[in-house]
């Protein structure tokens, strides 16, 4: 395997900036790796080798530019994030062939920073799912074991980074869709504070929950990427008017965890978790203690209600957000509709997959006359209580910590029969989206029984990404590094 693809994002960036490697060399290494691994992993929905090459050559011609922090760095983008001129399917037949004439602010920032966009990654349709099996196009395979799912909904991005196809892949996280696949694939995935990164250009699923975030192999990489994509955006009314700190600088100087209080919520460390997952996570906590952290027991008492609250809110918002897919201005249109009603109903029934349809219908129901108060309004009230749980916990600790998933990657087709069972496995990730706080999942080790990656989550207070990235970096250096993914 080429030495280049083994580099971390920041190492690659530095070599490009110094001229030690050209943009073209970096790109060719990734393309070669993609060619080698894609037949097994199938993480990509769209690869623009030609466009990327033209871009790399243009960058090389102009030479490295210190004002471009990601000069020449090849990246991948989840197919829910619009890149101008590139197809954007959201993993759905509904958007087959759709090419946006605008792009996400996060993408604009990466372009301006000199990044080379290789293509789009596979995902659960419209970000609804936890295994990427809901993609209408293809199943992505976990590089650690090709018979296992990569997690979802950003399974393509996590698998791609795990397989070293690129140095960074953008994902999106509404209920854990960056963190859970990262934990399954042994990558580091960060969901920023709600409002930290602009949502303009991200095809909306749960508007009050969605965030774009980086999936990388190290904390320092994620910090560097977060600095580039963050910032107030006048095109997004929910974008926070907050300055962007130099996250990488904060991470770089993190040495230990002395004085850092790590909160351990009893609800996240109890029953229902696989033994091997608990073992790895407890070992990571011990390592944190060795580095000077103080472990503080805390409680997030409304955790048992988080899944119900989350799904009501997410499905309700999704049912409205997906109404624009009506066959009129873009997307799939049914053949020869007799009238407008047929146009709407057939186009949508044909274009959307089963899980999406299910969520849209439940969402419409939860908002409908007579049910609004019992479902949507009630869920929003519980949401406030869940957020308050976190605010209370953060009075006693600096970081809250727990596993990302009750188990490691499960088998392809193993859990598709019962949608509710799939929802229940989101228990450790969804509260964070309801609260709007930042959190990451970092690789903590391999499960003894399955040999598959186990992810440990670190949550921070609002806009506290520096703290969690710094802690992740310290832990990374302490814990044994992961070997190369066994499946490839």
């Amino acid at each position: 395997m080429s030495a280049i693809v083994e580099l971390s994002l920041t190492e690659m960036r530095d070599k490009l900036a110094s001229g030690e490697a050209t943009a073209r060399e970096a790109l060719e290494a990734c393309l070669a790796r993609i060619e080698e691994t894609e037949p097994k992993v199938r993480a990509l929905l769209h690869l623009d080798a030609e466009g990327a090459m033209a871009r790399a050559e243009a960058l090389d011609k102009a030479g490295p530019d210190p004002s471009m922090p990601f000069w020449g760095v090849p990246i991948l983008v989840k197919d829910a994030i619009c890149v101008k001129g590139m197809p954007n399917t959201c993993g759905s037949k509904m958007l087959e062939g759709f090419v946006p004439f605008y792009e996400a602010t996060a993408i604009e920032k990466l372009r301006k920073a000199g990044a080379v966009i290789l293509g789009k990654t596979n995902m659960d349709e419209f970000a609804m799912g936890s295994s990427t099996e809901n993609s209408a196009y293809q199943v992505t395979h976990n590089p650690w074991d090709l018979d296992k799912v990569p997690g979802g909904s950003s399974g393509g991005s996590a698998a791609a980074v795990s397989a070293r196809q690129s140095f960074l892949a953008l994902g999106t996280d509404t209920g854990g869709s960056i963190r859970q696949p990262s934990s399954f694939c042994g990558t580091l995935g960060l969901k920023p504070t709600y409002g930290r990164v602009s949502r303009f250009g991200l095809v909306a699923y749960g508007s009050s929950l969605d965030q774009i975030g980086p999936i990388t192999r190290t904390a320092r990489d994620a910090a560097a990427a977060l600095t580039v994509i963050s910032g107030h955006d006048p095109k997004d009314s929910t974008s926070a008017p907050k300055d962007v700190p130099d996250f990488e600088a904060a991470v770089a100087k993190a040495g230990d965890l002395s004085g850092v209080r790590i909160g351990v919520p009893e609800e996240y460390w109890g029953e229902g978790i696989e033994e091997e997952t608990l073992t790895v996570c407890r070992a990571a906590l011990d390592a944190a203690k060795d580095k000077g952290a103080v472990i503080v027991p805390v409680s997030l008492p409304h955790t048992p209600y988080a899944i119900a609250a989350y799904y009501i809110v997410a499905m309700a918002e999704a049912s409205s957000n997906l109404s624009r897919f009506d066959g009129v201005r873009f997307g799939h249109r049914t053949k020869d509709p007799a009238d407008i009603l047929e146009l709407f109903e057939r186009s949508r029934t044909e274009g959307f997959g089963a899980e999406v349809k299910r969520r849209i219908v439940i969402g419409a129901y939860a908002l409908s006359a007579g049910y609004y108060d019992a479902f949507y309004r009630k869920a929003a009230q519980v949401r406030r209580l869940i957020r308050q749980d976190f605010l209370d916990a953060f009075k006693q600790c600096d970081i809250v910590c727990g596993p990302a998933s009750p188990f490691t990657a499960f088998g392809i087709a193993e859990k598709t029969a019962d949608p509710l069972q799939m929802y229940l496995s989101d228990i450790f990730t969804i509260s964070l989206n309801l609260a709007g706080l930042p959190g990451l999942s970092m690789p903590a080790g391999l499960g003894a029984k399955s040999g598959l990656p186990v992810g440990l989550q670190l949550f921070g207070p609002a806009f506290g990404e520096e703290a969690i990235l710094s802690a992740a970096k310290v832990l990374e250096e302490t814990l044994p590094p992961l070997p190369a993914p066994a499946g490839l």
Binding site: G97, F101, Y305, R329, A374, Q381, L385
Partner: protein, 94 residues
């Protein structure tokens, strides 16, 4: 709660979906189990709790009343399943 296929059909209509009989039966079943699960929220005491609809704390940002033209008509029409260079075309609305 027991959700009938008729109620499921009504909700599907709200969402402009047209499931066939089998799909409707399956949908009703799934909806029933999922909505029953969601009803567990009833156990939470939320009297006097203000709903939280968004984690945002800032007030509505506004833009100046200036016109900005950042795209051309053909871009807007480019992805249309049916268009004539000026309009989007749909079956006649009665």
């Amino acid at each position: 709660m027991k959700l009938s296929p008729q109620e499921a059909a009504k909700a599907a209509k709200l969402a402009r979906l047209r499931p066939d009989e089998n799909e409707l039966a399956e949908l009703a079943g799934h909806m029933d189990s999922i909505l029953s699960y969601m009803e567990t929220l009833g156990a939470v005491d939320t009297s006097n709790v203000e709903p939280l609809y968004s984690p945002v704390e800032h007030a509505a940002p506004m833009r100046d009343d200036q016109t900005v033209k950042n795209c051309e008509r053909d871009e807007v029409l480019a992805n249309a399943p049916q268009a004539d260079g000026r309009f989007f075309i749909v079956p006649k609305i009665v």
